[in-house]
Symmetry: C2
């Protein structure tokens, strides 16, 4: 069982933008990104036994989707912006093999797709071929892989803080899993927050009892 | 100045296949891969203050180019086959950012090349277009990058042994450099070996003098 020591160290949670941006996953929080973020912050304010983090690079992405001025500024005290200590952290060397092999296969697949498009089957419109190429190429080379510094920020920050990582990105989850990072899909996060709030109340009660007894 | 302590620790050198396979770089060792490897082993036998390593994955690659039965088996005692401790070693986390950003740019470039080939300029033969695509795609996505487990083996083994890495591969040299690994281009390696042999003799002399005095 995961243990959270209320007095010494707060449980940490690292959040991806998908939680607020993806319509399917933010539904339980709110009808639009701004409402969803505000709802989350209100819940976070109650789950004081836990700390919530977002890498600044991810927060910048989120900023494009929300109207920050509509959310009371004081609520942002419940969402820490912090980058991982990228010049101090280390990762297991065997990950390099997995990353390099994964990319190698994808690159080869990309070339096969390109050749097929260049060999241009007759009877298909050029624009259709190019559209199709773009879609398949992106699918083959970008999906299920960590492919941006924002992705790396999320994984390393969760690693550094021994935090729970909440993301809908399959590439991020795959690599978090390889590194032994706790992860949760955003669909379950609203219920998880409700659980955290209950746990916070329970821990406060135990602490007060302890102080009364001591 | 790099210090080699003869009594405690031997200087280590990690070798890539290019030293024996690439005609331009093996010239100073021999007219063909087998002769070049034998010549190297004869020199290595004299440079006893140093240890020479090759990851087994790299040795397997080399095996395709040499006639092992033509080289006296006892000479192979001077070329250790060893993999890096990939499950114990760690690499700086910031490397992940560099690798991911590098790959991202290459992937985007690959798509642009694919689109250009698919848009198939009139008057060019299809086979010519595909040939051209293959060459440019490989250049964009594979050159100057670590793109195989053999590459990772070389870099990690040199890191683990604090060894000099001898390779002609620009991708390997680039990453060795980022990690602070000593490296040398194979063109200089014959002269370097001559230097190692001189150094070995000098160190043996100093040691004998020391023993005589003590």
């Amino acid at each position: 069982m995961e243990e959270v020591n209320f007095k010494n160290k707060k449980g940490a949670v690292v959040l991806d933008t998908s939680l607020f941006v993806n319509p399917d996953v933010r539904r339980s929080f709110g009808p639009n990104p701004t409402a969803a973020l505000e709802k989350f912050l209100l819940l976070a304010a109650q789950a004081t036994a836990f700390e919530f983090y977002m890498p600044p690079s991810i927060f910048n992405e989120l900023s494009n989707f929300i109207e920050q001025e509509k959310i009371p500024g004081e609520l942002f005290v419940y969402l820490h912006q912090k980058s991982p200590k990228k010049y101090e952290l280390t990762t297991p060397a065997y990950l390099l093999y997995e990353l390099v092999e994964d990319i190698r296969e994808r690159i080869n697949k990309g070339l096969r797709l390109a050749e097929r498009a260049a060999r241009n089957p007759e009877g298909r419109a050029l624009d259709e071929i190019v559209q199709d190429l773009r879609r398949k190429y992106r699918e083959a080379l970008r999906e299920g892989i960590i492919d941006s510094k924002e992705d790396v920020d999320l994984i390393l920050l969760a690693m550094e803080l021994d935090a729970l990582l909440v993301s809908a990105d399959q590439g991020i989850i795959k690599w978090a899993d390889k590194l032994g990072i706790k992860w949760l899909v955003p669909e379950k996060f609203k219920q998880y927050m409700d659980g955290l709030i209950k746990k916070t109340k329970c821990l406060s009660f135990v602490e007060e009892e302890g102080e009364a007894a001591g």
